[in-house]
């Protein structure tokens, strides 16, 4: 198996009828076992990129491979475990957490076959790893946002995927849940050695689970790890309450890109893929790639600018 988990070469996607592409000329190589966070504003093309990586959309041009295979094939082969943005189960949905988690693996079984013991063991193992074992017998519709997320991560892991893809994992999660989420992703990465792909407009989600960060606003910035934007830097930036940052109001959108590659060309983007610099947003500028700014020592080489 190749050591590149996801590779995109010159990928452009334009939705039918749209004038401008949703994503344009994306080059991306995600090494197997790494944790990549893709950060970007709403409408910046993150979901499109994820759908392309999952094989749910065919790129208009360019080539995509997932462990050397076509994404749809990789999906059919169970290489990708997907955690959706938000699942709102009916309160009375008549299934337990364990039953829903098990479906992640058992849906592929022959209908006349019971769940094999090894699969059952894997289901229990993933329930325990994600901490969902504590509420595995509860009806799925009674879970909180954080519990539902753990259940959905367990469901993604039971089929033994090589990639865990999380779509906006912080939506609907309370502060305590966010801390647990960071610890959980770390535990999953250490235990299973998966490639983790997180897409979010929320820096906290990216900070919690990534060791590489790329920014997507139609075009991809910093498609190779901006080493200056390490988890340590992000953790330091967000170690205090965001509300305490002067001038920052409302949701925080962050753009991380090379200082040498400023974002004027994307300002005022007509298709909604432009940077969200309009009101009270925070911009993080990472040091130039390959330059001398690879401090990794915290705030050095990182500028904050309140708009």
């Amino acid at each position: 198996m190749t050591d590149i988990a996801v590779q995109l070469d010159s990928v452009t996607y334009t939705y039918p009828g749209a004038e401008a592409p949703a994503i344009e000329n994306i080059h991306l190589a995600v090494p197997a076992g790494s944790r990549l966070g893709i950060l970007g504003p709403n409408g910046g093309g993150k979901s499109t990129l994820l759908k392309i990586a999952l094989g749910l959309l065919e790129p208009t041009s360019g080539r995509v491979t997932v462990f050397g295979r076509a994404p749809a094939q990789a999906r059919r082969d169970g290489l990708i475990g997907y955690v959706p943005q938000k699942v709102e189960a009916e309160l009375g949905f008549p299934m337990s957490v364990r039953e829903i988690v098990a479906l992640g693996a058992t849906w592929r079984l022959s209908p006349w076959r019971g769940t094999p013991p090894a699969m059952k063991a894997r289901i229990e193992e993933m329930l325990a790893l994600t901490g969902a074992a504590d509420f595995a017998d509860r009806p799925i519709g009674t879970l909180s946002g954080g519990q539902m997320q753990r259940a959905m991560i367990a469901r993604a892991l039971v089929a033994n995927p090589k990639i865990l893809a999380l779509d906006e994992p912080m939506v609907g999660i309370d502060a305590a849940g966010q801390q647990q989420f960071a610890a959980l992703l770390d535990r999953i990465h250490r235990t299973l050695g998966l490639t983790i792909l997180i897409i979010s407009h929320d820096l906290r989600a990216i900070a919690a689970g990534s060791d590489r960060v790329a920014c997507l606003a139609r075009k991809l910035h910093s498609h190779i790890s901006p080493e200056g934007l390490t988890p340590q830097v992000l953790a330091e930036l967000f170690s205090h309450d965001l509300a305490g940052i002067s001038g920052v109001t409302g949701p925080v959108h962050v753009h991380a890109h090379r200082a040498t590659e400023c974002c004027e060309h994307d300002h005022g983007d007509a298709n909604g893929g432009g940077h969200a610099h309009a009101t009270g947003n925070l911009t993080i500028i990472a040091p130039p790639m390959g330059g001398g700014g690879r401090s990794g020592s915290g705030g050095e080489g990182v500028n904050r600018a309140d708009h």
């Binding site: 999906r75 008549p94 299934m95 039953e99 829903i100 479906l103 849906w107 089929a159």
Partner: protein, 306 residues
């Protein structure tokens, strides 16, 4: 109403040879129908397919119109397998059409369903009336069924052929639900994630639409075009008020259907009312009781935990 007494009454009623000959085929077809409806009903409720069920059942009226025209032209006979086949084909086409358009999401789902619903009703009304005129003009016996029996059902319309067809559809429904249960449940819980996991969601939706169409055509004999979708919605809705576990919910849903059928028929015989509305009203009353029970139980738990 006295459910137990009513059930004893209908058993006594069926013991009478003349009444049995009239009611037994319909009752047996009804049994098959409520079991298949009860089986898929929880899925219809959690996936919010009640309105699409309504759309399919009303589309059946278009199928009734086409069958009536074919009968007036002497191509098929009214009643039996050929008519069932024509109505089922019409419903399957309508169900797949609605499912496909809803899946593409270019037109709002309720608009699509509404369009099929009223279009089929309008076409059915014109075709049935035209077929009657045409049959009279050509000297053929016109379709003797009343509008009420088409719209609201009548177990007395059922004969042995309907029993056999209902039994076949029941077997098809049980096998299909068992065979597809895992991907169906995955799809019902979270359609987008199911697609991302590789579940063939379009195929699953299509298969369910075909199954619902077959069930609705069978249910028409009991509840008619207008009320058939109630048999798809009410048993599952009642069961989900009583439990949140898959197997108990499914069994309760089937049990509610059987009870509703027996009590509804008993009420119908006792009061000389049409059976279809009686069955549906009994189930609606059960739903009211289930809501009361569910609220009392939540209040009881809340009081106990204080």
């Amino acid at each position: 109403m006295g459910g137990r007494g009513s059930i004893v009454r209908i058993i006594d009623f069926l013991a009478d040879p003349v009444m049995r000959a009239i009611y037994l085929p319909g009752t047996l077809a009804g049994f098959c129908t409520v079991i298949m409806c009860g089986l898929v009903s929880p899925l219809v409720v959690v996936k919010r397919l009640g309105f699409i069920g309504q759309g399919i059942s009303h589309s059946a009226f278009g199928g009734v119109g086409v069958a009536a025209m074919l009968a007036a032209m002497g191509v098929i006979a009214i009643g039996g397998a050929a008519e069932f086949g024509v109505i089922a084909a019409f419903c399957v086409a309508a169900a797949l059409g609605m499912g496909l358009l809803a899946d593409r999401k270019r037109t709002p789902e309720d608009t699509t369903i509404g369009l099929f619903l009223v279009g089929s009703m309008a076409a059915g009304a014109l075709l049935v009336a035209t077929a009657r005129d045409r049959a009279s003009a050509s000297g053929r016996a016109p379709d003797a069924r009343s509008w009420e029996s088409i719209l609201f059902g009548s177990v007395m319309n059922a004969g042995n052929a309907e029993v056999v067809l209902a039994a076949i559809v029941l077997v098809v429904a049980v096998v299909a639900v068992l065979a597809l249960r895992r991907p169906l449940l995955f799809w019902a819980f979270d359609e987008d994630a199911a697609r991302a996991f590789g579940v063939p969601t379009r195929l699953i939706r299509g298969a369910l639409m075909v199954l619902l169409a077959l069930i609705v055509v069978t249910a028409m004999k009991i509840a008619g075009v207008v009320l058939a979708s109630a048999l798809l919605v009410l048993p599952g809705a009642i069961a989900m008020k009583l439990s949140a576990r898959l197997i108990p919910v499914t069994l309760l849903s089937i049990a509610c259907g059987i009870f509703g059928l027996l009590a509804g028929l008993a009420l119908s015989v006792q009061q000389n009312w049409q059976p279809g509305p009686c069955v549906v009203l009994v189930m609606a009353a059960l739903f009211g009781l289930a809501i009361g029970w569910s609220r009392w139980r939540s209040g009881f738990h809340a009081r106990s935990s204080r």
